[in-house]
């Protein structure tokens, strides 16, 4: 069987099996499946020939009357995200080991199905298939948030569901429009289609709305802080670590090469919105009282920068976006995991109530520092590599916008250091005296995440060289003009 379709179906099947497994041990099954998936991911990485062409292609007819095919393949851009997904999912599953979730069979089954859908999004080469996976990814996360969420989960998840659904339905309109123009859903045919300026604008906005909501970009972000806060830790990690990359990936794959004229026309608006979002979300984060909400806002700021860099349609910007997606995935999953570790022990995520934990948990502190540094983009951590390239890309596009966006490095330092101080430093608090030691699974997850943050910071070439040819090929349409 082809590796790409194995990547898609293995977690799906494993997820279905997990549903039937009404036993606590289901988590080991889930972990095993995720690790096996990682193994396949690494095999793909190993067999992948660096270049711009799509590899491991499967193209089978599916709904023939509508020209819909099961058409998947992997190029450098997909590969990076597939690797990210296969790397993060086992970590996310492992991170949930120390918490007992009710109905674990459904919980882990949903996670695996979600992984399958995410991989599907990243490898689909047929627009309709892409849409199916896009929507499929929403369903498990909706149930994860709804069934295991916190306060107000019903209302918040409903809003999240509707909001993203509206976006994807609009995108479906764009996909059908392109289908009517080309008579096919295949990615290559979309690339070849020639559209007038107005048609490009239409397609651009229909696609962009879906992606912008998913990322999310200011002012479409308001579902996100509430959802991140209400979702269970695992759900938040899936949402922030992988799912929001769907939006960014969508922009790179389905907007930039297909409607270049519209990107040139409307890109400035998007970039300005993103830059506003960066500063806006960073400013809001400063005074947040809830640890989770704070990280949620910081995530909006980071993603805003990625979006701005990508829309600069420079190699530097997009490559920066690629590496920053990976980096942000690790950082944000790490941060939310730290929040979860603290939350399970202290029963609170209110910054005012926390403090002095460093005395009880020196190991956690070190990990927190490393992940925090990645998040504030200190050189030699992954965050810097990405942000530096994004700033360069944005600067080439427009120096003033880059200057405004760069203010986030100050604001980021302010809110992250504040948070770190409020949570970890200060006089030890009596009520946290019995702060439980970290168990092995927790330590393992944190160490792996920290390792990647440092590794990417020091030697990002491993990842950069994978996507560079694909990104360059993708941008040829701009340089040709």
């Amino acid at each position: 069987m082809n590796l790409t379709s194995t990547l898609i179906f293995l977690p799906f099947v494993a997820g279905l099996i997990a549903f039937l497994f009404q036993n606590k041990a289901v988590k080991y099954l889930a972990l095993a499946a995720a690790v096996a998936e990682l193994g396949i991911g690494l095999t793909v990485y190993h067999l992948y020939v660096v270049g711009s062409d799509t590899q491991f292609v499967v193209n089978l007819p599916w709904i023939e009357s509508l020209e819909i095919n099961f058409y998947v393949g992997i190029d450098g851009i997909s590969l990076l995200l597939v690797l990210l997904t296969t790397l993060l999912t086992p970590l996310i599953i492992l991170s949930s080991f120390s918490t007992d979730y009710s109905k674990p069979n459904i919980f882990y089954g949903l996670i695996l199905i979600m992984q399958s859908a995410l991989i599907g999004v990243f490898v689909a080469r047929d627009a309709f298939l892409f849409y199916i996976f896009w929507e499929l990814a929403l369903i498990p996360i909706y149930f994860i948030c709804l069934l295991w969420g916190g306060e107000n989960k019903g209302k918040i998840t409903f809003k999240f569901f509707l909001y993203t659904l509206v976006g994807s339905l609009v995108m479906l309109m764009g996909i059908i429009f392109l289908y009517l123009k080309t008579g096919s859903f295949a990615y290559e045919d979309f690339l070849k289609v020639s559209l007038t300026g107005e048609e490009q604008t239409f397609v651009f906005w229909t696609f962009f709305l879906a992606f912008a909501i998913k990322m999310p970009i200011f002012p479409l972000h308001t579902w996100q802080p509430a959802t991140y806060t209400a979702a269970p830790a695992t759900g938040t990690m899936l949402l922030s670590g992988i799912m929001l990359k769907m939006g960014i990936y969508g922009v790179i794959r389905w907007i930039l090469p297909i409607v270049p004229a519209a990107v040139i026309d409307w890109g400035p608006i998007v970039i300005v919105l993103s830059v506003i979002g960066i500063v806006y979300a960073s400013v809001i984060a400063i005074m947040q009282k809830n640890f989770k909400t704070l990280i949620a806002y910081s995530s909006i700021a980071h993603v805003g920068l990625i979006a701005a860099g990508i829309f600069s349609h420079t190699v530097e910007g997009i490559q920066g976006g690629m590496i920053q997606m990976v980096s942000h995935g690790f950082c944000v999953v790490g941060l939310f995991f730290i929040i979860d570790i603290i939350n399970t022990r202290t029963k609170t995520v209110e910054l005012e109530k926390l403090g002095g934990i460093r005395n009880q948990a020196p190991f956690l502190t070190v990990m927190f520092v490393i992940i925090m540094l990645g998040s504030v983009a200190l050189p030699l951590t992954s965050g810097f590599v990405g942000e530096y390239m994004l700033f360069v890309g944005l600067f080439i596009y427009n120096p003033w916008l880059a200057a405004v966006a760069a203010v986030s490095i100050i604001l980021g330092a302010i809110y992250m250091l504040n948070t770190f101080q409020k949570v970890m430093l200060g006089e030890p608090k009596v009520e946290f005296n019995d702060f439980k030691k970290l168990v092995f699974s927790e330590k393992a997850v944190l160490v792996i995440i920290s390792f990647f943050i440092l590794y990417i910071g020091i030697y990002p070439k491993t990842f950069l060289e994978l996507s560079e040819p694909s990104v360059k090929a993708l941008l040829q349409i701009y340089t040709a003009k």
Binding site: L162, I286, E316, I410, A413, I414, L417
Partner: protein, 634 residues
């Protein structure tokens, strides 16, 4: 020796890794050994490089690339080091002074439970600082630049249970980051303009490109200078430097006096080719430098915390160095960096020795008469004070005098201001010296019984630094005194030729006269200080009793409060406003409004379902008729 260059930063990094991973499991002795040993190893390699460069066996500029770091599109950065006179000179200071301070710390911190953590941080700092000076492109330099900021954050907040220390650490990091923003943007602008960030590429293209894009050149140099003001504590970003004096004293000596804060000066000297092409920026640097020098010196006049005095003195001396750079005298700036590293590290370590003996007391009003109890500390402190005051033939004299000579060339007024700064420095340093060491002891009985001279690991570095403070100036003896300026020759390959032409435009007789004037004024100031604090025994006022201008100065002109009310508070308000009102009510309100409007719409529309069949029939018929009519009209 060049092929061992990678070991120079790597040894401290390995030291950091071993100590950091071992942490409390390692015995203190081993931690100290690894910590000091790794730095000593680096120092020995650096020394061999230094000898190689002075003897000419190592070429003047060697770039060694190790691996590709960030590559994408036109970005082509490698992890590479540049070995040239300037970097080797800085490396010598960093590893040399760094080693002495490590040694000192082994004694100073011996009772602290965070001993291993302290050494881990300190080694990480040396690593970062070495990255900063060794980098052969701006981004590697930036990596070190931010790295030292991080270590400074970690070390200031070393005693993390204390909220004030944590706040000071945070403030230092954020202020630095403001500067870093300037550096980052300047760096990217260089990249966009020159297409490269390697020093060699940028500097070789600089003359043509900077001429063609004058404004861009000004922008680049100004942005980089903003970075320098953050790191080197110049107006308006200087306020972070006095606060971190909360951290361990050796840290203040190493980071906040000898090395990290001079990074800004190093960076400008490194980029001197660019700055020489942007005279406008140089003028700004000169003004900022001299204003900072004078401003900080006035604050230093009335401080009572032994470390605060030294901190403001550092800000002031850094201002002096920028003043020199602004005058285009890059070598002179570096000269002062070197001598300052010796005597200011000495002074800080001396202060640390005093604080150690006084069981943590830092207020000079509670000291006095320590000369007898701490003889070595006293004599080394005297040497440091004399050196900073600029009395020949101590180190500070030569470097300060060179700056003043350059200032006089530009304008006698600048010379006057420079001398004024020097006199204030002399005054507050001797005030500090007299209040601490002469007179009678003013502390508690408990403190008195504990007074003791520090152990050898602490006094040895003091003595070495004292010797360096005495002889350090001889690397740059001016011609007028019959010497040769070894340093100028040494640094010549690095410095743009344009800037250094006018060095000796001053006639020897004028120069000699100026020297005589400034030196005699310095002696006069010392006598005044002696009269006030020794003969008349006038004590500084207790807390809260100051009035008028003295109160204004004692409270540092309320600059911190000013920043707090014009920046920090508005930012918080803005954050609260954006978070609570803008985001929750307006932006999210619109989103919820869309949902609500659907709800409201459906509520309104459902009333059309009256349930009365005759109504439905009626509407149906009307509908049919309307359709018919429309059809007819068409």
């Amino acid at each position: 020796m060049l092929d061992l260059a990678y070991l120079i930063p790597l040894l401290p990094l390995i030291g950091f890794a071993i100590i950091g991973l071992g942490n409390k499991k390692l015995p203190k002795f081993l931690v100290g050994l690894i910590g000091c040993g790794s730095i000593l190893g680096s120092f020995l390699i650096v020394l061999s490089l230094l000898i190689g460069i002075t003897s000419g066996s190592i070429p003047n500029a060697t770039t060694i690339s190790y691996f590709d770091w960030i590559n994408a599109g036109s970005i082509n950065l490698s992890m590479s080091f540049l070995i040239d006179p300037l970097s080797v000179m800085m490396m010598t200071i960093i590893t040399g002074v760094g080693f002495l301070i490590h040694l000192y710390s082994a004694g100073y911190m011996s009772h602290d439970e965070g001993f291993a953590r302290y050494f881990a941080y300190l080694n990480l700092f040396v690593f970062s600082m070495l990255m900063l000076v060794m980098g052969s492109n701006y981004v590697v330099m930036f990596a070190g630049w931010e790295g030292v900021g991080l270590c400074s954050y970690l070390l200031i907040g070393f005693w993390f249970k204390n909220t004030n220390y944590n706040n000071a650490a945070k403030k230092a990091f954020i202020m630095n980051r403001i500067g870093d923003l300037g550096f980052l943007l300047g760096m990217i602008l260089i990249f966009v303009t020159f297409g490269s960030l390697n020093f060699s590429d940028v500097f070789s293209q600089a003359p043509q490109i900077m001429k063609a894009n004058y404004e861009v050149g000004i922008a680049i140099t100004l942005l980089l200078f903003i970075g320098a003001t953050g790191k080197s504590a110049q107006i308006p970003l200087y306020t972070w430097l006095p606060d971190p004096m909360a951290g361990p004293t050796p840290v203040s000596a190493l980071i906040h006096a000898a090395t990290m804060v001079t990074a800004g000066i190093y960076m400008i000297v490194r980029s001197n080719v660019l700055y020489t092409m942007a005279p406008f920026t140089l003028d700004i640097i000169m003004v900022v430098g001299i204003v900072t020098a004078l401003f900080a010196a006035t604050i230093g006049l009335f401080q009572n915390d032994i470390k605060k005095v030294l901190a403001y003195s550092t800000v002031s001396q850094l201002g002096y160095m920028f003043f020199a750079l602004g005058l285009g005298a890059y070598t002179t700036g570096m000269f002062h960096v070197t001598t300052h590293a010796f005597f200011k590290a000495l002074l800080f370590l001396g202060a640390g020795s005093v604080i150690h003996a006084m069981s943590g007391e830092q207020d000079i009003r509670n000291m006095g008469g320590l000369r007898k109890k701490l003889p070595i500390t006293f004599w080394t402190f005297v040497i440091g004070t004399v050196a900073i005051a600029g009395i020949p033939p101590f180190a500070g004299f030569f470097s300060k005098d060179e700056i003043l000579a350059h200032a006089y060339e530009r304008s006698p007024l600048l010379w006057g201001l420079g001398v004024l700064g020097a006199l204030m420095t002399t005054f507050y340093m001797f005030r500090l010296l007299f209040l601490t060491f002469s007179g009678s002891f003013r502390g508690t009985e408990d403190q008195k019984s504990h007074l003791h001279e520090s152990p050898i690991s602490m006094t040895l570095p003091l003595m070495v630094l004292a010797v360096l403070s005495i002889i350090g100036g001889f690397i740059g003896v001016p011609e007028v005194l019959g010497g040769t300026n070894w340093l100028a020759n040494y640094l010549a390959p690095v410095i743009a030729t344009v800037g250094e032409k006018e060095v000796h435009a001053l006639s020897h007789s004028t120069e000699l006269t100026l020297m005589k004037i400034s030196t005699s004024l310095v002696f006069l100031t010392i006598i005044i200080a002696y009269i006030i604090y020794v003969s008349k025994k006038i004590m500084p006022l207790p807390e809260g009793k100051e009035s008028g201008i003295q109160k204004l100065i004692y409270n540092k002109y309320y600059i911190d409060e000013l920043y707090d009310s014009i920046i920090v508070k508005p930012l918080r308000l803005l954050s609260d406003f954006s978070g609570k009102i803008l985001d929750n009510t307006i932006v999210d309100g619109i989103v919820n409004g869309v949902g609500k409007s659907v709800e409201v719409g459906s509520k309104v529309l459902r009333y059309s379902q009256s349930g009365s069949i005759s109504n439905y029939l009626f509407i149906m018929v009307i509908g049919i008729i309307i359709m018919l009519v429309i059809n007819l009209i068409k």
